[in-house]
């Protein structure tokens, strides 16, 4: 699905990623853990195509496409989805209008017809149930006035609507209480299939009780320093990261 090879990236001349390698296959869930400042969120931003970062070396193959050659929206249209750590508020733009625009542009890119309004609304109704999102929220402006939990649920709702090949969840558990965490995780698990994959970026092991990873990677100082099975997360929770440095 995605193969990252020797990725180096910097911001304002400061190197954040220093030769990162990672391969995720279809049907897999990978967790990336690591201390603050290890470069976890940077990795997510770079994969999504944020222009603040400069890739200085390395390659990213996304299902046969050179990901780094694409602009942000084309990466999204190829099926890469980023659930933001801090979802952005867009005042005055309704969630529904936002998603329909996104969905139709993605479909257009793939040479598909625009989705009929009726089908779209049915889809909204169905998918919003998945994350127990109040139907009212769909007609409200994107993330505006949403609580922290609602914002994160809205991210997963959008993921359900856009049906990506690869979803990257950037600290989706931050700021969630246990109920919200369960709802968000259930949503993610329900969307899991043999044809898609998920990268979960998190600081805490707690989330991995709900979204069970096939692999756990530890990111430290811009590189993956250890990879293991899901039990590694528990070990990290117990011992911290210092023993890996």
């Amino acid at each position: 699905m995605i193969k990252i090879t020797n990725l180096h990236a910097s911001i304002n001349g400061k190197e954040i990623l220093k030769g990162l390698d990672l391969e995720v296959k279809a049907g897999e869930v990978h967790a990336i853990m690591g201390p603050n400042g290890a470069g976890k969120s940077t990795l997510a931003s770079i994969l999504a195509g944020r222009e603040d970062y400069e890739v200085t070396e390395g390659s990213v193959d996304f299902d046969g496409v050179d990901l780094l050659a694409l602009n942000t929206e084309d990466r999204a249209r190829e099926g890469l989805f980023l659930a933001f750590q801090y979802p952005v508020e867009i005042p005055g733009v309704s969630n529904v209008n936002f998603l329909r625009t996104a969905l139709n542009e993605i479909r257009e890119y793939r040479g598909q017809e625009q989705i009929p309004a009726k089908d779209f609304l049915a889809m909204v109704k169905e998918k919003s149930k998945l994350v127990e999102l109040d139907a009212g929220l769909a007609s409200r402006a994107v993330n505006e006035g949403f609580s922290g939990g609602e914002k994160k649920r809205n991210e997963i709702f959008q993921m359900a609507m856009l049906e990506p090949k690869l979803a990257i969840l950037d600290e989706t558990d931050s700021g969630l209480d246990i109920d919200a965490l369960r709802i968000v995780s259930n949503g993610v698990n329900a969307l899991k299939s043999d044809n898609n994959a998920t990268i979960v970026i998190t600081h805490y092991q707690r989330l991995l009780d709900y979204i069970v990873p096939d692999f756990v990677h530890v990111l430290h100082d811009g590189k993956i320093v250890k990879t293991g099975p899901k039990e590694l997360a528990l070990e990290l929770e117990e011992k911290g990261y210092d023993w890996l440095k």
Partner: protein
């Protein structure tokens, strides 16, 4: 690489005026320039009564004593008033009586504008008084309105048919001496719309006028007068568009609204006059005086979407004279290239328990300058007056300017006035968020801008809101490459 903001800025510069064409119709022009003879000629051509001519001549004499104002934040070459054709009527053998009688070429023009009367006719509940270069050429729905006692006609017709009403109300809100352009308009106004809603009548349809300038070198001076008698209601739509011309055209209109006790007037404008080309050449000077008077319990609501004109200078205002009266102003002003807009409102609280709301959204792109200028004035006896103002500016490029000049004058201790203003760049985080969901940058900007203006767009009647959204898109977006 994605579509960068620099590229967008470049595209905006190259944005050409969509409505740039002229109609090949023979017109009946007055000679260029302005003097008492021209005024007599205008009055004669329009077969006006003596009192109207006297009114015009008086206004002209006042105008001669006035000086053209200079403003700190608007600069443009002052029009040469001796080089303007002050009267231009499309030449027709006789005035059209029915829609079928209207010159087909005129109909074609309207079609090109995308506001064709035929289409409008199909839209239920819209009556249109179409003004093309000063003379009203077709009026529809007149009969239906007549049944309710509503008068909706061209200003010229009203002068002849309802002289009592015109003499009573004309200049009662905007006196001839009000300002330089109002005096000029009073002297030379060509035509416009008169509307009277009798006591207790709720006008069942949106009343609409489309203004459009056609003839090269003409100034358009319309005059609009809307009177809503006690307890009456009407909603009035004004759309403006002008063909593309190199020289600057002058537009100096006067709009007066009178809302008697417990009456309500909604006045909506979508203005899309030619803004000049990307080098700042040509375009319309839109120097307009709009003011409404509210008697007891009355309400006047101005909504405007201003995307056109090289220079816009207008402050639709409310005189809240009666107790418990309400004034509202909702505005979106978009400037691009070298456009200059200085627009806002004046809310004058005289009566007790008067309320006013101001929502202004400015969007500046290119090298344009966009200013909000507004006055909130609370008089000594205006107990419990309330005002809330929100003025936001969005900057699209680093070569444009966005300014806010609110004047707040309060002489009553029970008043509450709140004013807030913000200026910011279009949010990069918002754009990135949209991009990550697969939305193109151009569409993302359109979405964000429309969302930003939503509070104002929501105030427009449905048909207008859709058009206004399209206009915003045309003004600020362009297809990539």
């Amino acid at each position: 690489m994605g579509y960068t903001e620099e590229e967008l800025a470049e595209d905006l510069k190259n944005q050409e005026y969509k409505y740039g064409f002229t109609t090949d119709i023979e017109s009946d022009d007055a000679p260029k320039g302005l003097n008492e003879d021209i005024i007599r000629l205008i009055s004669k051509k329009k077969e006006e009564p003596e009192w109207m001519l006297e009114y015009r001549l008086n206004a002209y004499r006042i105008w001669l004593t006035m000086e053209e104002p200079i403003w700190a934040h608007v600069s443009f070459e002052k029009p040469n008033y001796q080089d303007i054709i002050f009267y231009s009527a499309p030449k027709q053998n006789q005035k059209a009586k029915t829609w079928e009688d209207v010159d087909p070429e005129l109909k074609e023009t309207m079609n090109k504008l995308g506001i064709s009367l035929e289409e409008q006719k199909r839209l239920q509940g819209v009556a249109v008084d179409f003004v093309m270069d000063s003379v009203s050429v077709a009026t529809s729905f007149k009969e239906k309105l007549k049944e309710l006692g509503i008068i909706f006609c061209s200003f010229s017709d009203a002068v002849k048919e309802h002289p009592d009403l015109i003499q009573k109300y004309m200049s009662s809100v905007v006196p001839v001496t009000d300002n330089y352009y109002a005096a000029l308009n009073s002297a030379v106004f060509s035509d416009g719309t008169f509307c009277y809603i009798p006591k207790g009548v709720r006008c069942p349809m949106e009343l609409s006028t489309y203004f459009r300038m056609n003839k090269s070198g003409t100034g358009q001076f319309e005059r609009t007068l809307v009177v809503a008698d006690e307890g009456a209601y009407c909603s009035y739509l004004e759309g403006c568009t002008a063909p593309q011309r190199d020289e600057n055209q002058l537009h100096a209109a006067v709009v007066e609204l009178i809302a008697m006790d417990n009456a309500e007037i909604k006045y909506s404008t979508v203005q899309n006059w030619y803004p000049g080309d990307k080098n700042g050449k040509g375009g319309v000077y839109n120097l307009v005086t709009k003011r409404g008077l509210c008697e007891k319990g009355a309400k006047i609501s101005w909504t405007q979407v201003e995307t056109g004109s090289a220079v816009t200078w207008k402050y639709p205002s409310c005189i809240l004279k009666g107790d418990n009266s309400v004034g509202e102003f909702y505005s979106v002003a978009v400037t691009n290239n070298f456009q200059q807009a200085d627009t806002g409102t004046k809310m004058v609280h005289i009566g007790k328990n008067t309320k006013s709301t101001i929502i202004s959204k400015g969007i500046s792109a290119g090298k344009s300058q966009n200013s909000y200028r507004g006055l909130v004035q609370i008089h000594k006896n205006a107990d419990n007056a309330r005002n809330f103002s929100q003025c936001d500016s969005l900057l699209m490029t680093d070569e444009c300017g966005a300014h806010t000049f609110p004047y707040i004058e309060c002489k009553n201790s029970t008043a509450k006035i709140e004013h807030e203003a913000t200026t910011s760049k279009i949010g990069e985080d918002q754009i990135f968020y949209c991009l990550q969901r697969g939305i193109s940058e151009e569409k993302a900007i359109g979405l964000i801008v429309n969302g930003y203006c939503k509070e104002v767009l929501n105030k427009l009647p449905m048909e207008f809101a859709a058009e206004a959204q399209k206009l915003l898109a045309v003004s600020l977006e362009n297809s990539v490459g």
